[in-house]
């Protein structure tokens, strides 16, 4: 218990430091929101409109005053106003994008995890066999396939050339959101290619991790004992070895889940998926400080919470770490 309280204290301290950095780093970037909009229009905005826009954003006071104001607002969970979507509150856009990212990247992470785990179990059980010698290295190499190229190839082949999948978005323009069977199938249909493009480059590391952990366990005493008792292969594999080997993978999964809110930038851009990665890139490019801050804030919180969970899981699984 003392351990947990201490941990918690340091996590909160890390969070406070991160919040501070997340405030100042974006503001150190050159340019400001009005300037970036002006540049992006390549001279289509007149000088007087530019001047008015600059005035309307009006960042008053010194950086320090702004920081104090920011902390004050944050205490009330007020993320401020988005400048690129002026005057929409940052939180409404943030939660909109966060929802889609949770769905897209969360789903992709779970699918990668499941695929990797099953392939890892199979490869470990038939270690040295054909599947293990060929697919273990190949799957891990897929990790190094440039995500952008995977997404673009899927996009050009399936969306433009064959036209079997939609060009992008999370659902069609005419689909009414709701808990209907139709809408759920639409969501899956629209998410299929983006999820595939993430899974292709991600499942290999789970495969390798699971395989190696499992091979380590195969010769442990309890497995030999189970064999000696004459238990079926299936039972030994699934209930004795895999069950134990999956525990460390689950701690890693908890860590990965923390980063889900970072979004899948390139996939979201290619498939026009309304996720946090794309929104954050736009916010960075257009210096939408409040959005960058808010996104970094929830990302920080989720990563730290995930770390805490994985710490706790570690302690549960491995008493030595206490």
């Amino acid at each position: 218990m003392r351990f947990l309280v201490q941990r918690l204290f340091f996590y909160i301290a890390a969070f406070m430091v991160a919040v501070t950095l997340n405030f100042f780093i974006p503001r150190l970037m050159p340019g400001d929101p009005a300037t970036m909009l002006f540049i992006s229009l390549h001279g289509k905005m007149r000088q007087d409109q530019f001047a008015a826009l600059k005035r309307s954003y009006g960042f008053d006071g010194s950086l320090w005053d702004q920081f104090v104001a920011y902390l004050g607002k944050l205490a009330h969970l007020d993320f401020g106003i988005s400048t690129i979507n002026f005057p929409e509150p940052t939180s409404s856009l943030l939660f909109y994008a966060a929802g889609w990212t949770l769905f897209l990247v969360g789903l992709a992470t779970v699918v990668s995890f499941a695929m990797g785990i099953f392939m890892g179990i199979y490869a470990a059980w038939h270690r040295g066999g054909f599947f293990d010698s060929v697919f273990t290295p190949v799957n891990v190499m897929l990790n190094a396939f440039t995500p952008a190229i995977v997404a673009l190839i899927l996009f050009y082949v399936f969306c433009i050339h064959w036209r079997v999948f939609p060009l992008g978005r999370a659902h069609g323009l005419d689909d009414q959101p709701g808990w209907t069977w139709h809408y759920l199938t639409v969501l899956v249909y629209y998410a299929a290619l983006p999820v595939a493009s993430i899974v292709i480059v991600n499942f290999g590391s789970w495969h390798l991790g699971m395989r190696n952990t499992m091979i380590n366990l195969l010769n442990e005493d309890f497995v030999v004992l189970a064999k000696a008792k004459g238990l079926s292969d299936r039972r030994i594999r699934n209930q004795y070895v895999a069950r134990n080997a999956i525990l460390p993978q689950i701690t890693s999964l908890a860590m990965s889940m923390g980063f889900v809110l970072g979004g899948a930038l390139i996939t979201e851009v290619v498939f026009n998926y309304p996720g946090l990665g794309k929104f954050t890139l736009t916010a960075i490019q257009s210096r939408d400080y409040s959005f960058i801050q808010a996104q970094l804030l929830i990302l920080t919180a989720s990563v730290l919470i995930a770390n805490l969970i994985s710490d706790v899981l570690n302690v549960i699984f491995d008493p030595r770490l206490r």
């Binding site: 050159p30 300037t35 005035r55 979507n85 002026f86 909109y96 309304p274």
Partner: protein
């Protein structure tokens, strides 16, 4: 053609997944601007987004300038205007019988209110050029109601060009906006305007529609029930959407359109007329850029043919004369008077070397590059923002050209923000830069040579060269104080010649204006042979509403 398996399954999937809604209405789908998600904001003077959708289509200006055909301007909320003989006032005659979409009459009160409102909220981008006591800038003193349908704008000093600034302004309904204290924060929802499409419908983060204004005077001829704005955030997505029939009208960047766009669908069409001119801007407050002979040599050393055909993928238009403006103003260029200066635009490395030699720019320290006559080495960067590929190509090509004649110029690609941050302070050597666009070259030259744009700390992108040319300032003043078209033309010609003689900027080429359309659902589009309006889609091209109104739905 036999359908392949995938095509069959595609249509089967599509049939299962979408119960195709029956559109009784005619919908034009267009993308004036990229966004990640829509917000329910219809504020016409919010230039961060909404202006792209509601200006022109919902909110009408007083007068639509047809930039390509100055003799065919289109009256909008005003039917005519006169400039007083002393050039100290402009009187607009408003269109009778116009109603705001909520049923109230549009009158002179609304116009007067809009002017006063602009003055009261300087941070709200209505952009009236009102006279400001403290800074003594601007020109319009006040707006007066003469009668219900007549408004007079009183000026501080004589200006024949005042209507150019007043005409494009969109009056706001007094009965709505007088209750709004913070116009920048107001989403202006619901829309109360006079244009053809004012009813916002079906809003979602990824799309919304502007539908027919029941009180609009265009309804008899307007065949389009709704404009739909679907959300897109990348060029690739937009091009793909036009190709599969999800979009009708867009203005996105392309490379090799004959390979990447036209083959994707028989309905895919595009036209890329010339837009504003792009110049190489040298900081003439620094050595060696203050030397005319040096600038001449730079201009002659550049291979513009390669810039156009290779670096910018043949999508730009070559500029013929070293006058800072290009093909956009073809009608305004004094081709005979400028003939002697054409040589400065021709690729002539030997000539450039000769000019440099004669002016004393020779290699003194033996490093292979020319030095100033006083011996200081010359070396500078040509700066272009990191993501702008065609400009990077062009700047790289120019740096090679300059190195070939012994000028040590390199390419630098800073991040957009830091690139732009150096402009106001004048802390730069050489930039590639666009020119400002207006109805006539006057706008471009005015912003290029106006001394107030060259104040250190407030240098604007248009006047970065920082060279004051008093003769040009005089000509600009003269143009603004005459209503005589011939005199205006003479003034523009004089400025062109002065620019060619002094070379404050090195003229390169004209950027393309991006314009894609699909003939799948609509015909009657502007094209090369029917160039009645500028076909671009972004806010500020007020002709776009006329373009939309002139489209004809394809009968299925």
């Amino acid at each position: 053609m036999k359908p392949t398996f995938t095509q069959v399954s595609a249509s089967a999937l599509a049939a299962v997944l979408s119960v195709a809604p029956i559109h009784a209405e005619t919908v034009l789908r267009l993308v004036p601007s990229h966004t990640d998600a829509f917000t329910e904001n219809y504020n016409p003077n919010n230039n961060s987004g909404p202006a792209n959708y509601v200006q022109d289509f919902a909110y009408e200006p007083l007068w639509i300038y047809n930039v390509w055909h100055p003799d065919q301007n289109v009256p909008a909320l005003a039917t005519s205007f006169d400039v007083a003989l002393d050039l100290l006032s402009v009187t607009y005659h408003l269109r009778p019988g116009v109603k705001w979409s909520d049923g109230q009459d549009f009158t002179a009160d609304d116009v007067v209110f809009t002017f006063d409102y602009a003055k009261r909220h300087p941070d709200f981008a209505i952009n009236f050029d009102y006279y400001d006591e403290t800074s003594q800038s601007g020109n319009i003193l006040r707006a007066e109601k003469v009668d219900d349908l007549t408004v007079r704008f009183v000026l501080h000093h004589p200006n024949a060009m005042a209507p150019d600034g007043i005409g494009p302004i969109m009056p706001l309904p007094q009965h709505i906006w007088s209750k709004i204290d913070n116009p920048n924060d107001d989403p202006a929802n619901p829309i109360v305007a006079t244009g053809p499409w004012t009813e916002a419908k079906d809003f979602s983060r990824s799309s919304f529609k502007l539908c027919r204004n029941p009180l609009s005077r265009f309804n008899a001829d307007n065949k389009i029930d709704c404009l739909q704005f679907p959300q897109y955030s990348s060029n690739e997505q937009v091009i793909a959407a036009i190709s599969v029939g999800d979009l009708d009208w867009a203005g996105d960047g392309m490379t090799d359109p004959e390979l990447t766009y036209t083959p994707l669908s028989p309905f895919n069409k595009y036209w890329l007329p010339a837009d504003a001119n792009v110049n190489l801007v040298l900081n003439t407050t620094r050595k060696p850029f203050d030397n005319l002979e040096f600038r001449k040599a730079v201009s002659m050393a550049i291979d513009r043919e390669t810039l156009v055909t290779i670096s910018t993928f043949n999508l730009t238009t070559p500029s013929q004369y070293p006058i800072g403006i290009g093909a956009l103003y073809d009608d305004w260029i004094d081709t005979t008077g400028l003939e002697p200066f054409k040589g400065l635009m021709a690729y002539d490395p030997e000539g450039a070397k000769a000019v440099l030699d004669a002016a004393g720019y020779v290699d003194k320290d033996g490093d292979g590059f020319r030095d100033s006559p006083d011996g200081t080495p010359i070396s500078f960067d040509i700066s272009v923002p990191a993501g702008w590929t065609d400009w990077i190509n062009a700047a790289q090509s120019m740096s090679e050209n300059l190195q070939a004649v012994g000028i040590n110029a390199e390419l630098a690609t800073p991040e957009e923000g830091s690139w732009f941050d150096k402009i106001p302070t004048g802390d730069f050597n050489a930039y590639m830069m666009w020119t400002d666009v207006g109805a006539t070259p006057y706008t471009a030259y005015e912003s290029m040579f106006q001394p107030r744009n060259m104040q250190p700390g407030q240098i604007t992108s248009s006047a970065m060269h920082q060279m004051r040319i008093p003769e040009i300032e005089n000509e600009l003043r003269d143009i603004s104080s005459t209503t005589d078209d011939a005199a205006k033309r003479k003034g523009i010609y004089a400025i062109e010649k002065l620019v060619a003689e002094d070379l404050p900027v090195i003229t390169l080429f004209s950027n393309p204006s991006w314009y894609q359309y699909s003939t799948r659902n609509f015909t009657g589009w502007v094209d090369k042979d029917n160039a009645r309006y500028r076909p671009m889609l972004f806010s500020g091209v007020h002709e776009r509403v006329l373009h939309a109104l002139s489209l004809v739905p394809v009968q299925n």
